[in-house]
Structures are given as structure tokens and as C-alpha cells.
Symmetry: C2
Subunit: 603 residues, 2 copies
Amino acid sequence: MRLSKMLFVTLREDPAEAEIPSHKLMLRAGYIRRISSGVFAYLPLMLRVLNKVSNIVREEMNATGAQECLLPQLQPADLWQQSGRWDTYTKAEGIMFALTDRRQQEVALGPTHEEVITAVARDMVRSYRQLPTHLYQIQTKFRDEIRPRFGLMRGREFIMKDGYSFHGDMDSLRATYDDMYTAYSNVLSRCGLKFRAVEADSGAIGGSGSHEFMVLAEAGEDEVLYTEDGQYAANVEKAVSLPVDAVPSEFSECKKLETPNTSTIETMAKFLDCSPTQIVKNVLYQAVYDNGKTVLVLINIRGDQDVNDTKLQNTLTNLAANYDASTLLSLEVPAPEAQSKWAAKPLPLGYIAPDIADDYIQKQKNVASKFLRLVDNTAVDLKNFATGANEKGYHVVGANWGQEFELPELVVDVRNATAGDRAVHDPSQQIQTARGIEIGHIFQLGTKYSQAMGATYTDENGKSQPLVMGCYGIGVSRLAQAAVEQSYDKNGIIWPVAIAPYHAVVVVPNINDEAQMAAAEQLYTELNAAGVETLLDDRKERAGVKFKDSELIGIPFRVVTGRSLKEGKVEAVKRANGESVDLALDQVVSTVKQWVDEAVKSE
Amino acid sequence: MRLSKMLFVTLREDPAEAEIPSHKLMLRAGYIRRISSGVFAYLPLMLRVLNKVSNIVREEMNATGAQECLLPQLQPADLWQQSGRWDTYTKAEGIMFALTDRRQQEVALGPTHEEVITAVARDMVRSYRQLPTHLYQIQTKFRDEIRPRFGLMRGREFIMKDGYSFHGDMDSLRATYDDMYTAYSNVLSRCGLKFRAVEADSGAIGGSGSHEFMVLAEAGEDEVLYTEDGQYAANVEKAVSLPVDAVPSEFSECKKLETPNTSTIETMAKFLDCSPTQIVKNVLYQAVYDNGKTVLVLINIRGDQDVNDTKLQNTLTNLAANYDASTLLSLEVPAPEAQSKWAAKPLPLGYIAPDIADDYIQKQKNVASKFLRLVDNTAVDLKNFATGANEKGYHVVGANWGQEFELPELVVDVRNATAGDRAVHDPSQQIQTARGIEIGHIFQLGTKYSQAMGATYTDENGKSQPLVMGCYGIGVSRLAQAAVEQSYDKNGIIWPVAIAPYHAVVVVPNINDEAQMAAAEQLYTELNAAGVETLLDDRKERAGVKFKDSELIGIPFRVVTGRSLKEGKVEAVKRANGESVDLALDQVVSTVKQWVDEAVKSE
């Protein structure tokens, strides 16, 4: 492609709309243009990057025997009602765009395709002899994000590969799941990305096992916890660890003390001159289920620990049946003002006891229909602990489970693992932390969707069984931007060679110099013929502008038909490290081709 | 691909939902599955066909210098308001899906991209030095069709290539338009389709010149008019022709006759014993403009001719400014009951005079704010004609313009050209008719969008000018099905080789026969290695089922490792004509490869 013929516009200034480096650079370098909030036009250079990423994904998927298809983006509401996710996706989480068509039918724009593919499998899969089978697609998806931002990182319209596998049993699912783990690792490696695969929460998709593939970058929205030995990695929503040991309590006798202005763990520990690990902290949440029931939840947790919302959410989702509900709609800490209304006397946060006083429980019936107590693992073994006294300005010290307070029946893990904890698999390993961009997510769904939607097959014994499912997603457009976030410098993007829009650019410093143009034209033709995808910068621009632009758009190799041409040489520059060599004209093609091949192999 | 590993299900019976052969066959052969009205899943075989069509389109587009990009499917309402099409597309024609996002912004699902691309060009194109430039995309589009039907022919979600070119002047636009005419012809030829390029109406897209590419098929929804000499072809909405000559009238004197029960041209001509060409027919329409104005339109046309709604629509759109309006919202024949209400005495259709009586015009003010008379070319030169008398059961004969009736000032061409008419370019050529499926449409838009949206460039003289635009669309998924509609037999699909999902299928009649399997595996591997895309039917099915399926799915070449294997031979069958030859094992690859290459070249 000749740049003189391409709609190619670069910007000198960082656009105001962009916050992180990759977003700024992709706008400045003319890869994308914003059309509306979280919605972008992919310009020709960008589309080439997206196609390269897609093709790598496709190759790795096809190698596992998965078959590419294309499912509709318009999804009828009735399929989502069959799976029970319509309300969650359109109301509770509200991330799905929905509309009413001319026949007054509700239609969604697909953010994911479990429902559609399960309907297809329900129609087509009859016998165990058709299993396992695995279909995938590469497609634009939609999410009505609350806060679209960071360019393609969190858009309302984005490109994903999503795949769905169907099995006769869990063993078969796990085999495909392992293949996908490998395939996704291969994709990220081949795209030249530094990443970690981490244990993850299954979220709204559901199912048992799940891993996320996190591309490491400061601007990442997710926190990854891992150990140096490489044996453990999980995202913060899922991570488990051993907290530091509690300091043995010095309170030998149980008494209630006046402790003014100690509504935080920090002020309380300071006042009592004790470690936060000797405190039982009592945290209130208010859970609303899809049948309208509100449950007031009190969690007892060790004072130095924090409650992890996702873990608590999963715990409460699992308890939904106890409240005749199927889905947890919302979970929040009740506003302090609301809490004090429930009590006879106002009871600010920070003074609640592990069992909260009866009159609070009575009072809270105004807002909540049920009351639930949970204790986190970290608080179970504490002795002679300090905790709230259900009275403003007072705490109890030297308390014990089974004496002053009853231990809740439900012992759970709802604590946030954090850097500095010890690893479960090897307590000598300390938990480390890093920022990551979630690029891929694989799930062992099991029979969640097939049971809800009646997708069955006939097994070897002629018996009808629900299909066992897995699903696997990787963000194509997000991956492309994550690559930039991992690889740029002050002059612009540095594309990994495997996903660069072009491998090389031939820059003509002066297009009025016939020798320069002739040499450039020849190299441009020969490089392309040799499979080195090459741009020709033949624009009527100053040489400096062309050099700057080639750095900004991040083409891996630059060939300049400049001064050394009179000695039959051209300059060849590597974008990644600025390394420059003079090459004889007849060596350019073979040398640059070798650079490309080596780089693609090593990425 | 091994069929044993593919999610591959064929149906014996025609599905009830399908009306035309191609739709039935694509469902039966497992290419598509319906998800909701006009919305389909493309199964793996189908996706391969779509990709082949897309790649042919891409090659032809790239060869013209057009650049591929990808624009968003979510389109903000404000861009459509800028172009003035929001109301037309969401209300009047109502074919655009629209929704309200979580921030209460109106968003459309793109049926076409003039607005988005004009916004991109407005942002990026500054100077004449960037022109011409041409961007295209291959993408899923959406239309909320009133009556989705015929499978992929008229779906609510479908794949299109749409391209948009920008120019400094009309000459440059016409050059690109001609390139597109050639590129589209090449695409259809390479896909193995019989087609005609026809002059077309620009419709809601707008602009001056336009051609449609019609794939010829009985099931086509469009009528194409053409001449045998190949010099003229147009769709019926646009076609012009010379009507047959009028028979000279024998009514020498003007008189009003009682003509009971003659409300149709046929009964009237019979009663008066005259030719329909001696009659002036007077047709009423009611036009509603976007500013709410209703215009009652009376058209005088020769009795044997019919009014063409599209031509009339265009005429009335061009007159919009006369009514302080910008768009025609609707055009319909007023219901007979409504008409009779306007008159003092009821006046049924069939008795209206060329000028309609004054009291009707007075009365119609109840429903219409304006009255407009038009005369079609065909009625202008009639002498001593018969026509309505503005009274039920009465007609006038021997009437003349300028005597009994005033000739309307606006002389227009709103007649339907039909088979049997004579061609304008050569009256010795008779107009022929054929059914067609509209696959492509190219438009010279001019400055319609750039002016409305303020997309300008600076010309050689430093002066700001509106960009001159063209746009070019081709239906990828519709083309794929049109190919089936043109090429099938009682046993199934016969794909043109260039867009067949696979070139060949190796059928193993008995997979328990080791020699058969070994030969098949070898041929399968070697054919694929030679670039012949080959399926292996290694399913545990009877030979008859495999033969039937291979015919049904329409793979061009079938290789059978059957009986003749003991003589070192296999049977090779051409799907198109059933021709069968026995080939020595070592000749199979070269022979089939030659068949493929020859077929792709000749299509």
C-alpha cells in the first residue's frame, strides 16, 4: 500500500478523550476514530491488526478441531428467558442492549452466545456419536457499559472470539478445557504478549471451573495475585491465600470498655493497644433477590481482613434457594443512616457486635425480610478477641465464641486475598500482586444452560442426558490494544511483528529525487513479493514527518532510500530498539525477511 | 475436515418455514438454522461459502485501490439527524432498528453507513491532495423488515460489503463508479452467477446515477426489463420505454354517455367498443410530507398504462420544496370510502374526470391541504379521447385537451414500462422481462450527505468545497443463496466451484473396510496438500446416505473409494452433470485439481 493513496492522518497532540497511553497512541496514529461513547471506527491499519489477531486465534482454534461458524447478533428474548438470564442481563446487570422490533418482540444485541448456541445444539445434537463438538465464531459483540473507557479496552461494541463445546461427560469437557488453556496461551504468546493465566470467578456466565488470561500492564483494570514459583495465580475476585498469623490476644478477661471515637479498626486497635488480628470485625450487607426478598447479612471477619464482594456474592447466590429465589439481584452495604434507623438507639458502623442486638434485628424487619449471619474462616479460631458491643462508643474485649457470642453456623471464605499473604500450596511463598488486562476467559459450564433449555443427547445406553458444556472467549480488539499498552515508547507504538499492520515501511525522504523513488519502488515491490508486507511512504511530506509517522504507527522495520543510496546502500532501522544498519540494495529483501521470520518465531 | 468430527446434520424433509428452493436446500443441507424471523445461524459449511464470496469481493475491491476498514454497527442518532434521514429510516420507512441506551441516547443498528463514513471523512479529509479515497467494509447489517422471508434473501440480519468513495468532482466520481461497475461484474462472474446490470432508482439512498446488479432467477423479487441486443436493461422501478401506439379515436364529437357498471378500463372499453389506448385514466393518490402536509394528486395517464409508484414517488419528492417539505413520508391511493366522502354525491373510482369536479376539490380540503394535477407523457397527445365524467355511471367521449379539459402544466413520466413495449434506443427492439434478485447496487451520491453534514475539503485554489461521494453495496449472504437459487437439481445444491464450501469430498462407502479407509485417508491428505479443499466422509453411515448427503450439500467433485479399488481405481463424479470416471489412484489428485482450476477459471 502506498501511503499517498491511503486515508492516513496522524495527530500531533494527544486527544483529550484518551486516558491511557495505548488509547492515545491508537487515536494519534490513525488506527481508530471515536464515533460515539465506547464505539469506534477501525481504520484500514487497525483492521489489518485485527485480522492478524483473528487469524492467529483461528489457526489455534482450528488446530484443536473446533469449527468456525457465525451466530446472529440479534437474539430473541425468549431464549434468554429460557436460560433465566433475561432479567439479569437487561435489568440487574443491565449490560445488554435490548430493543423492541416492529412486531413488538423483544430482541437483544448479543454480548455472549450461550443461549443461541444451546438452542442450535438442542436442535442438532441427538446422539453421543456427535460428541464432543466445538463451535466458535469471531464477531462483534455489544455491551451497554456503565462507563465505556480506555478506547477498545472497555467499549460498547467490540470484537471477540467466543467458542462453545458440547460433551457427554465432565472428563471430555476437561480435556477440551485443557486444550483451550493451551490454545489461548499459544495465541497470547504468538501475539507477542506477556501474560498470566489465573484462576477466576465464573461470574454471570456460571459453571464450575474458570481461568482468565491476563495481559500484564500498569493500566490494567484487574488485580492479579500470584507466587514467584509460578505455581499459583488467580484474579483478586477468586484468589485464596493464608493470611498472616493472628497475634495471640492479651485480653484475659471479658469486659465491656468505653472506647470513644473508635469506629474504625485502626482507631480501635490504637485505643485498645492491640493488633487488628485480635479483633472480630462485623460488616453488614443488604442482599436483594429476584423474588423481591431482602436479606440483611452480618459477616464476622478478622479485623485486618476485608470482605471480597465477589466471593460474598457467590456465597449468597448459592444460598438463593434458601430464600425461594434463583438469582441475587443486588448486594450493597446499607447506608449508615439507614442502619441507625433500625436500632432503638442509633448504632453507627464500628460498634456492631458479632450477633447484633435483638432490637436491631427486630427493627431491620422494616427493610429486610430475613437476617443471616456468616463467619469468615479468619475469625473462627480467634480467642479472647475484641469486638463491638452493640452500643455507640463501646467495645468488648476478651470475648470468645460459645461464651459471649454464638459462632454462626455458616463458616465461609469471603476474605480478600492480598499481597503479602502466604500461598496455600506452599506457605513459604508470598503472594505477589500485578495489574492485568483480562483478554481471555475460559469456563467449565457443566449443564447449567443445557438443563435450563432442555438440550439433551441420547447416551450409549439410550438414555437422555443433558449436554455438558464449556465456553471460551478471547477479546480480539481488546488484545490488539493491550499489545500497544505493553509495547510503546515516547515516539509511538512498537507493534509485535506478528500482529503489526505491516512488517516494513519504505520511506522516501525526497520523492522528487528520481534515484530515491526508483530504488524505493523496486524495494517496495520486491519486499511485498517476498511476503514482507510493506508500505511505501511516497507522500509529498518532509522526511522528518515521514520518520516521525513511521515511529508513531509502529511499523517494525523501516527502510530509508536516503543519503547512502549513492553508495548503493539504504538504511534499515528496527523500531523496537532503534538499531540501524546500512544494507546493500540487493541484501535488503533477504535481511528484512529474515528479521520478520525470526521475530514472529520468537514472539 | 472429517464429517465424523463436524456438527453436520441433514434433513430428509423440506422444512415448513421455507418457500423457495434455495431456502429449503440450505436448511436441509445443514448450512443455516433459523434463530428467529429473518435471523439465521451460519453453520460451518455456510461460513466457508460466505468467506469465499467475501474474499472474491475483497480481491476485486482491493484491485481498484479501495481500502478495507470496519465501521461501527451502533450508530448515534445525531449523525442521522444531521443527514436528515433519522425520521425516514426509523418512522416513515421504519426499516432501521433503534434503541435507547442506558444514558437515554438514541442509537440505531446500521442498515447502511453513509452517515458514519461521512462523519469520518469530515474529520479526516482536509485537502484535495487526499482525494479520491475509497473505504469499504464487509459487515453484518440490520433491517427491521416488514416481511422477512426466503431465508438469507430478505433477512433482518445479513452480511454486506458496503463502500464509500470521496472525490473532488463528478468526473473523479464517475471514474470510480465505472471501476465499481466493472468490479461488481467481476465479482458476480467469478462467483459463477448469471446476472444483468440494470439502471436503477436511487431510492432512500439518494443521488443521481445508480445501477443494480440482478442475479437472474425465477424466485427473484424484482422485475428486470431488457432488450435482446444487450443495449438496455433497467429494473421496473426505473425502466423507460416507448408504449405501443395509440389506436386513433373514432369519437368525432364530444358527448357525455350513460355507461353503467364501467368502473374499470376493461369494462369501459368494452362498453364503448374502443381501445384502452383511446382512454384517459385518472388516478388519485394521497401524498404526506414530513411537515405534515397532505397533497391530493390526480394523474392523467393513458388507459392501457399503469402508474409506477417509484417514479411517482421520485416526482413528488422532487416537488417537496413546493410544499415547504423536505421528504415524502408516504404515498397511497386513498381508500374508495374516503374518496366518496369528499364529494357532494359519492364518486366511485372509475368515473373521475381529468380535472375532477370543483366540489370534490373543495371537499377534499377536509383531508388534504393541497391539490396537484400531473399528466403522464402517454396521455398528452391523445385526441378525441374517452374519460370519466365526474359522475357515477357516466363517461365522456370525444374529449380534447384545451377544449373540454385543461392539460395539466406538469407533464411527467410516471408510467410502468412493461414487456412488449419498444426500446427507446431502438424502437425495433422489444422490451423483454425477467425475474431478478438484487445483489449489488452502486450509486453516484454527489454532495447529498457531505452538504447536509458539512463534510468539505479545500480545493487547489484554497476554497472549501463539499466532498463528492459515491457508494457501492453488494449483499454477501444474499449472493450466496442466490447462487443456490440459480444452481440446484432435485438431489440438492450444485455450488459454483469458486464459492463451494469445499471443492471435493472423499466418500468411504464402508469404513470397516481397511483398504477403503487407507486409500481415502491418503487421498484426503494429498488432495488437501495440493490445495483441493477436501472433506472426508468417514461417518458410520450407509454408503447410500453418504452419496445422498454429498449431492445435497453440493460439493462439486466426489471421489469414492469403492468397488473399483481392487483394480487400483476410484470413482470420481462431477456434481454438476453426474459425469463419472474411474481414475487410477495416482491420477486422482492431478485430475481433480485440474477440474477445480478449470472450473474456477471459466466461472
